[in-house]
Symmetry: D2
Subunit: 254 residues, 4 copies
């Protein structure tokens, strides 16, 4: 059974900071947001986790393998190198959505995202090393079948982007409501989803649901592991099997 | 009348590179993509343009103010510092979508996104300095009314994200099909749109369309200028007026 | 005759910031300093200049080609993205040392490096476009003859480093006192020097002076141009001639 | 007794890469080198180590606390995100110089720094967790007494730099030859030294040696710990004591 550890990373008082004393150059905000996300991705990724940019001022990560001390160090390091600070909530659950909901509540209880006195809160708990198993994390890696042939080399770049966004918007809602899963667009035509224990039937339903709703054809590789990197790497390999064999759903452990 | 210069930036052969000889660590791909985007944002932004991460392997920028030599330098600099290279297409048009379509075609004609022999192509043309006007670019900056109060401090972070994504997906299609505009989520609850000459009526229609379709309430500030930074900065100020006065649409020049 | 434009970049109040309220993690300070330097190197480099890390809290750049507006933009961009701010002094002179002395004085007059109320000062002047010539900048690129064979593959890495540092320390004093030049170690076994109009005799003297004083054998390629990049690129090519022909001094324009 | 774990990080085939097929823009090389160093500093620093930029193509780190798996991950991550790769040698010794010499030999045995077929070698061994003690690392943090008052606010920025470089060059040779220590300039007026077990008498000798030789007045704080960060943080605090009390040498554990 999955036991997903999820961390919500929220920049403190970011909205007001971006316009005080005056609005800041947009290109600088984009650079700041992207580089902050990249640093968090490295820190979490080097410990076997996955980080998703989400809304950039609110970043969601699957952090099985990271301790509370790790979270505190991340917070300190960012506070030393950026003009903003982070608050973090950490929780675990049998479904990713449950863990994320609890992580969010921890941050919300500490104070509003625009409360200028709420700085660098850190709350929650991680999974004890002794309680971790190789089933804790299930990662599904979806991509669009032959996106290059069907879209990238054919349509203008924005119409290709619209197709992929529509596919993502549909999948994200379906996976959240039907399966308490968290779906994230990660670039190109790729969507990575943190799932609880799902079956190939569940993944087939998801794929055909998206195809029926918005006419975007997805395939998916799924992996399991003690942390997001291990599960996700298996998922990547499973996706290669889809590409090689022409199948729509591959579970690495079957 | 607007005369938008749009650049499509496409990483050469990226899909194959990410899995050759083996799939690469996802956290590293995310870091690479984000930092590459951040660098392009700085380069373009320092010359008055705006860059949108889009799909990360395909990045769209509004580049009024950048010359072909500037584009060539960007390409060279990235080629010196990253394990991937870029192909660029540059075009102008009375609507952003038209310019983007022409820019895309230039890159597609040079070769497939997964053609391993297509490297560092650069095609197109920029607006001569003598032909630039302060009406060339129109930027609309939308955000969700009181996102913090309605969503961020209330729902779990993924459900907030779903709401904002649904609003974005709806706005992006409407603005593209009704107004040949290019819409980009830029973090938080913000969407920036490159538009042709639109009226406050057009913006009101867009806002109410999104509200009716997905129940997300937007407000918008709009600016015009010789380049994206000038237009976008005015748009940010207009958006502050919406926040201060409780209005839904503000055009900076009225 | 050379007309070097030099900019001194000084972080405001950095010493106190690094220990307030408590000392900060050293690895974070190193990361901050290096990434700030890298950003300045890109900004200046993309406009044809050269930036040298120097002491990291005080950075020296050869900025022929950058305007005061460019300097102001750099300052603004850094202020938007870092937890520190920059003060800048810009000056020109027939020798690099003279220009650097004037640039320094501008910053010193604005206030102490540890004056907590001195923030983001910008003073000085740049060369008018109409007055720029292809002789404005002279760059000499020195390296150690066969550093790899003589040192890197033979000695332990610190003893190799000592040799190169001793060579650099000797060259920097000689070039400053004999020739009003500014010398900077740029990594590996390379030293780049901003010079006034010097002759091959001057460069030979420098090389033999260092050889006699500390037994480190240098070769040098020298270039001239309208800006540091053009002069420096010619110098790199001249250095390749030294490597190919076994000569000690090569002036690209002879 | 100290037991320093030292890692030599060497970029594979860097010299040839910088000029193949043509020399590369210097500003891009500086940016690449600095950002690569910053990433290594974060990776090592987040595990309690210290990284010194040294020559940028050869980087020395004190890595007590990092395992061989950690080193392998660093190598893999850099290989995924940069156009160059790293070879690493890891060794331990009762003196830092001894450890660094052994680490260097491991890399040299794998192949020349300019051997184009030597890629991503990894050799050596780390200290078993069970054998680590709080005396393993001794870090001394030197700085120039009132550098701001004596130099930065008084001399031109290059003459200040010369003074600090001369002080560094003198200290580095003395500490290496008299005490098998590794000294690194870290920005500003700061020099950090990895030492074996030294006494306050040893540090006084070093300070007065430098003062006599080049007329630069240093003070020093010294710390010990299980890793470089712990030792170095104590050293920073000891240095604050020097500043507060006007003393020249402070050992944190006395």
């Amino acid at each position: 059974m999955t036991n997903t550890q999820v961390t919500l990373v929220q920049i403190d008082n970011y909205g007001p900071w971006t316009v005080t004393p005056e609005p800041r150059r947009e290109a600088d905000l984009q650079t700041l947001q992207s580089r902050l996300y990249a640093d968090i991705s490295q820190f979490v990724g080097n410990r076997g986790g996955y980080t998703f940019f989400t809304r950039f001022d609110n970043i969601i990560a699957v952090t099985n393998g990271l301790s509370m001390d790790d979270h505190e160090l991340l917070q300190e390091s960012v506070g030393n190198r950026y003009p903003v600070t982070l608050s973090l909530g950490v929780a675990t659950g049998t479904t990713p959505v449950q863990a994320l909901a609890d992580a969010t509540a921890l941050v919300q209880e500490a104070g509003s995202a625009q409360d200028k006195s709420r700085r660098e809160c850190l709350g929650g708990r991680t999974i004890d090393d002794g309680h971790r198993t190789t089933d804790d994390v299930q990662i599904a890696h979806f991509d669009v079948i032959d996106a290059t042939g069907n879209y990238t080399d054919e349509l203008n770049a924005f119409d290709t982007f619209i197709e992929i966004e529509q596919g993502y918007a549909e999948l994200m809602r379906h996976m959240r409501h039907a399966h308490d899963s968290l779906s994230f667009f990660v670039g190109g035509d790729n969507i990575i989803v943190a799932c609880p224990d799902l079956t190939d039937g569940d993944y087939e339903d998801a794929i055909y649901h998206v195809e029926d709703a918005v006419d975007v054809e997805l395939q998916v590789g799924v992996g399991r592991g003690e942390n997001a990197h291990e599960a996700g790497f298996d998922a990547k390999h499973a996706l290669e099997t889809c590409r090689a064999d022409g199948t729509r759903v591959e579970l690495e452990w079957e």
